[in-house]
């Protein structure tokens, strides 16, 4: 096996694999990257942890085709530090990988590709173009509320559903709050409706990485229980969570009696200030609506108290007092982009609904606390 490849392309293709390489896996070969020099003049650079697979191809001058696996992190560290523009790689019959670049030379011990797991193939998968930018935004604004409790696999990811007419929806929840986003992500053709799937948190992270690189030009499809995302010569396979996402629509309030519109930045600033003295146990901040003002308070027996008033223009919903985990609300306000935020409430013990004012694409539900 012998080939010459552009150093930057090679290093970039290896950098994509870093989140997938698993040094602690029971199969040691999973810490390796798979390199495959193909006769048609491409180098395949791939890795899998059996749940997420990155599979890419870059142009290469292939003198002798072949396959080998090698420690993916070491190879990446070497590739990105090499001085020249091109790297010449030769694999000896003893499975030693020689890298030459200008006057630098490295020899790495490889391992035969026959021990590497069979990678999924996107061949034959029907890929539908989708707006990667819209998808990236949906992930940014919803994935943060996915549960980290691994004993609840169905909450351990982001629910992704194609609604038809080009619209896609993402939802996540940890049982204390819920985020839902919906966007028209159509590009060249319609995105047909299909049942929702749960993309695991790790897969969502790798998907974000791919979207960062690809921009809008991506396509997606499904291969058995895998989500396939493609851009150019790069394919990402994410094994989906085989569980039913809860009936999340039940927890979204259908109607609300008290609706408040606030400047997002002002509210966020106040909330962060008041949260400084909130209990470290619960991060609870009390929100009181009274007349045409909102009063935020926190009370920590070990530290002291804080209080701040915000004016409410045209609020007529009546007095009420409710408490929220300030961390949850701060996170929501942090992912929203508009200037104004709507808060819709019913009773002190009913969920609070947060939205970007004038943008129906996103909604967030937060369960109150009893302080």
């Amino acid at each position: 096996m012998k080939f010459v490849v552009n150093r930057d392309l090679f290093a970039r293709s290896l950098s994509r694999l870093q989140g997938v390489l698993n040094r602690k896996a029971t199969l040691p070969v999973l810490s390796n990257a798979l390199l495959e020099a193909r006769p048609e003049g491409t180098l395949r650079v791939a890795a899998t942890d059996l749940d997420v697979t990155f599979d890419g191809r870059i142009p290469a001058r292939v003198e002798a085709p072949g396959r080998i696996t090698v420690d993916g992190k070491r190879l990446y560290d070497i590739a990105r530090s090499l001085p020249g523009e091109e790297v010449a790689i030769t694999v000896t019959p003893e499975q030693q990988i020689q890298l030459k670049c200008k006057n630098a030379e490295f020899v790495l011990l490889g391992q035969g590709a026959e021990a590497y797991p069979t990678l999924p193939s996107a061949e034959g998968v029907e890929l539908t173009p989708i707006d990667g930018v819209a998808l990236r935004e949906l992930i940014d604004r919803t994935a943060f509320s996915a549960s980290t409790d691994e004993s609840r696999p169905n909450l351990n990811g982001v629910y992704f559903q194609c609604l038809g007419e080009g619209r896609v929806r993402m939802v996540s929840t940890d049982g204390h709050r819920l985020s839902q986003g919906e966007r028209d992500a159509r590009r060249e053709k319609d995105i047909p409706a299909r049942d929702g799937v749960i993309i695991p948190r790790k897969g969502v992270g790798e998907l974000k990485r791919l979207l960062d690189e690809a921009g809008a030009e991506v396509s997606f499809g499904f291969l058995e229980n895998n989500l396939v995302m493609a851009t150019g010569e790069l394919r990402l396979f994410v094994r989906l969570i085989d569980a039913a996402f809860p009936d999340y629509k039940q927890v979204i309030p259908k109607s609300t009696q008290r609706n408040v519109v606030l400047e997002r930045g002002t509210f966020l600033g106040s909330l962060k200030r008041i949260a400084i003295l909130a209990s470290e146990r619960t991060h609870g901040v009390r929100v009181e609506l009274s007349g045409e003002r909102m009063v935020l308070t926190s009370d920590n027996p070990d530290l002291g108290k804080a209080r701040e008033e915000l004016p409410l223009d045209g609020y007529t919903g009546g007095d009420m007092s409710i408490a929220f985990n300030s961390k949850y609300v701060v996170e929501i306000l942090g992912v929203l982009a508009g200037d104004k935020v709507e808060i819709a409430l019913n009773e002190a013990l009913s969920p609070g609904l947060f939205r970007e004012h004038g943008n129906p694409d996103y909604l967030f539900v937060v369960m109150p606390m009893r302080l």
Partner: protein, 346 residues
Amino acid sequence: MSQELARALADARSAVYLLHGDEPFLTRRAVQWLRERVLAGGLEDFNLDRFDAKDRPGVDRIVEAARTLPMMAERRLVWVQNAEALFAARGDAVEPLVRYVTSPDPSSCLVLAASVAVDKRAALYKRIQQHGTIYEAVAPRERELAAWVAEQARARGRTLTADAAACLVEAIGRELGTLDAAVERLTLFVEGDAAIDLAAVEQVVPQSRTRTIWELLDAVADRKAAEALARAHELMGQGEAALKLLTMIARQFRQLLVGRGARASGASAEECAAAAGIPPFRARAFARQIDNYSGRELLAALERLAEADRSLKSSKLDEELILEGALLDLCRPGGAADGVSPARRP
């Protein structure tokens, strides 16, 4: 059983529970019982928070979850597994939890489930004692096991006969989870409302280690030396210690001696078995075995077993060899009465 749990667990109405004790099966069952009731009719996915105290999730996170109101449900269940770690922690570390227990959220049910008995001197324990419910999972005693097994069948709407329950306990031992699973299998095996009898147990319960111990004891009592040696090797291959097997055999010979005494005073086979503490389903085999040995032989056998016991505890000889020697002496016609024990051989 459900009524007992309902009583012990205050009908699932407490806001804080400590479930602990030396019987993890009972603790697990109590957690499941609470889970079914606290989350009934609600959205379990949204209202169950699970923590493992071994992972040190932080007491603050537990309190934060317990203070969060349930979503579209009456109550939220906050379940902390391996909670014994919290009771071993220093006072400051669990102070937020102690404070929470004093004034818990009525719409949350905090369940601290420990896999062992926790320290009852801990401040957290005392506070739960005042403000919550404590359930101590204590394993039934050996003599209560058959009744416990029968109760598991009754809770499933079925009847397990006394000899079937005794056989099940003899075959499986004290492991409550395995006993309960066996009762479950038996209720499926015996169709309809028919009582689960000894024949069903013998068909359904797989060959177990205890069963093989019975086979070893039977082989010795029936003087079948080859079979006794084979069973003994099998058991030692499964990790049983020679000393334990010897103890079981000695117990068997003591029972035979008691049974023989009862027989001499005119007792029936069942009465002999009862006098020796033999379960009813083994009464017939026991009566036969009494006749295999004279009183003198039984006393000699016990003496021989005592020698082997001493050898196992003090001799450098291989334990397998010591046991084999004892088994051959016990099974030999004439028994150990006319033999010279290997321990005394040069």
